[in-house]
């Protein structure tokens, strides 16, 4: 019996096709309904407006206004990642609570929300829908699928964030001191890649989870908001205790957020953030292989325990 053999090149091509297809599904699915896109871009701007007017009426520095514009972008991800379709008063109150003291970190919180709810929990959703079995039977690397999901999530989220940013800046005429756009963009990219790498690790670890996914994600949300400096610059103000600052730097979002703040709000350049860049690259180099190991481990465990495609656990 002769069986077909497949070389490295063919295998790579096959995995790239799978990653592209999964990315395409996420982008296509996320943008199919025009009303969703419009709502996710325009509605957050209304909330941003309220905060900008509030801060201005209190006579706060204009930099805070800039931060609010950026922070408002997070709302779209909260909508898309968690609050989509939910209109109950508790959800809206939680949403409003989250944007209470949004500073520049709001953009990164937005990505964090997307990473948690649309990336980390993705295998769980796929399992609930019955798709995980189809992925597991397919002759492609699971990392290719995760990679495709990540790319799709990054692109979808960035499009919305950019839309809010442009619209917010245009409507409220908020100044930024952005002199080094290349470094800012590079750091933003590194931060997002590091965050999605972390999302891939979580996705792997969540693979065998049932409804615990919800609770775990809830547990991860608030402490990260606190530690990463979404409400205050946790590694920029010396009033924050050293050990809190130290703990905060273990989160890629904190590092990326601080670097972007230094460049976009305080007019810094690459010389002020080179250590941040090194740290973010280190995060990626550690988290990406870790995701692969975690994925293989959890898949093996799932096959051993019989929980890989078992729903309603």
């Amino acid at each position: 019996m002769s069986l077909p053999t497949i070389g490295f090149r063919d295998e790579l091509l096959s995995n790239l096709k799978a990653a592209y297809a999964r990315m395409w599904v996420r982008i296509k699915g996320g943008n199919r309904e025009a009303t969703h896109f419009i709502a996710e871009v325009f509605l957050p701007v209304l909330t941003i407006g309220a905060y900008v007017i509030l801060y201005r009426s209190l006579g706060l520095p204009s930099t805070l206004g800039s931060a609010v514009i950026l922070g408002g972008a997070m709302i779209v991800f909260i909508y898309t990642g968690f609050f989509a379709g939910r209109t109950d008063s508790a959800s809206l109150a939680a949403l409003n609570g989250l944007i209470g003291f949004v500073v520049l970190g709001g953009v990164m919180i937005a990505f964090w929300m997307n990473v948690l709810w649309n990336m980390s929990a993705q295998w769980y959703w796929e399992k609930e829908m019955g798709n995980l079995e189809m992925y597991m039977v397919a002759p492609v690397s699971r990392m290719a699928i995760l990679f495709g999901m990540s790319l799709g999530g990054m692109i979808n989220t960035s499009i919305r964030a950019l839309g809010i940013l442009i619209l917010g800046v245009y409507v409220f005429q908020v100044p930024f001191q952005l002199h080094d756009i290349f470094t800012a963009s590079f750091i933003f990219l590194l931060t997002v890649v590091a965050l999605y790498s972390l999302g891939m690790v979580f996705a792997s670890l969540y693979m065998l989870y049932g409804r615990e996914v919800w609770h775990t994600n809830q547990l991860l949300m608030e402490p990260v908001f606190f530690l990463s400096g979404s409400y205050f610059p946790s590694i920029y103000i010396s009033a924050i205790p050293f050990w809190v600052q130290l703990a905060a730097t273990a989160i890629p979002m904190t590092v990326g957020l601080d670097a972007i703040r230094r460049i976009a709000i305080y007019g810094g350049d690459i010389s002020t953030v080179w250590l941040h860049i090194v740290a973010l690259i280190a995060f990626i180099l550690v988290l990406f292989p870790l995701a692969r190991k975690a994925l293989n481990f959890m898949e093996s465990l799932g096959k051993k325990e019989g929980r890989l495609t078992l729903r309603w656990q």
């Binding site: 091509l13 799978a18 297809a21 992925y135 039977v137 002759p139």
Partner: protein, 325 residues
Amino acid sequence: MKRDLSIETRSLRRLFKGVPGAGDVVALDSVDLSVEEGEIFGLLGPNGAGKTTVIKILATLLLPTSGEAYVKGLEVVKNAPKIRRLINLVSGGETPGYGILSVKENLWFFSQLYGLSRDGARDRIKQLTDQLGLDTYVDSRMSKLSTGYKQRLNLARGFINNPAVLFLDEPTLGLDVLSAKQLRTFIRSWMADGTKTVLLTTHYMAEADEMCNRVGIIDRGKVLACDTPQRLKMKLASRPSWKIEITPNIQDLDSVRTIQGIVGLSETSNIETGASTLKLVLEDESVMSSLLSKISQNGSKVLAMSKSEPTLEDVYISLVGRGLQ
């Protein structure tokens, strides 16, 4: 490497962790199966018999506790990635893909998981949607499809890579009679070149009888019989099969089962009329008098009774002692 065998299991055993204090659950107990290339092999059994566990092990989704399993001569634990290039799996009742995408888009997506080229995917999608009656729905969102059409899409997904070995786990679940017939016709035409193999699980005995070259009857993790439907029925030829319609139904069916000479018994109740149909496989005709007497003792009346040629369902009843219902 096993020649000419597409699927083989040897002493396959699988345990699942049971509830605390109850010990492990034996899902498969020393299962030996051999399925040749070109065969449609049916696994028949009630819920929890172990059918899906066999399929999941062969489809590389589950590890066996002990024993060996081979697909196209490749051992499933050591060669999972190679096996995945040769197989596909369709489970009945599953939602195939993403509701917001159209039929065509979903199929394109799955084609990319199997590395199909752009032209190859386009042609394959066209062919499958035509053959499975999905051609008028190619641009419809999956979420808008009826259950039956979703299942057709699920089947199209299973055939997208033209697998050498296809696992069909209750594939006609949710399909109407006509759609199920179309599917059976499609599978037979797909297998015409003799190089494809199908392992099918089903509750529908007539479907297994019509489609399968051979069937294995499995219950509580053990394969009780394995042969062609014709041979299995022939083995039962000496044992008369009876169908008796009674009213009202018998509450204590176990008391009937204990009658000496009853090999197997199944009951189908009609809620509207309150009548029941008993299907019985007997050691010989002499049991009938005791049986009728028991029915009478239970206060039931016999509405109709007929003797029939053994069916696959009778084989199942005689081996398992009860019906699938």
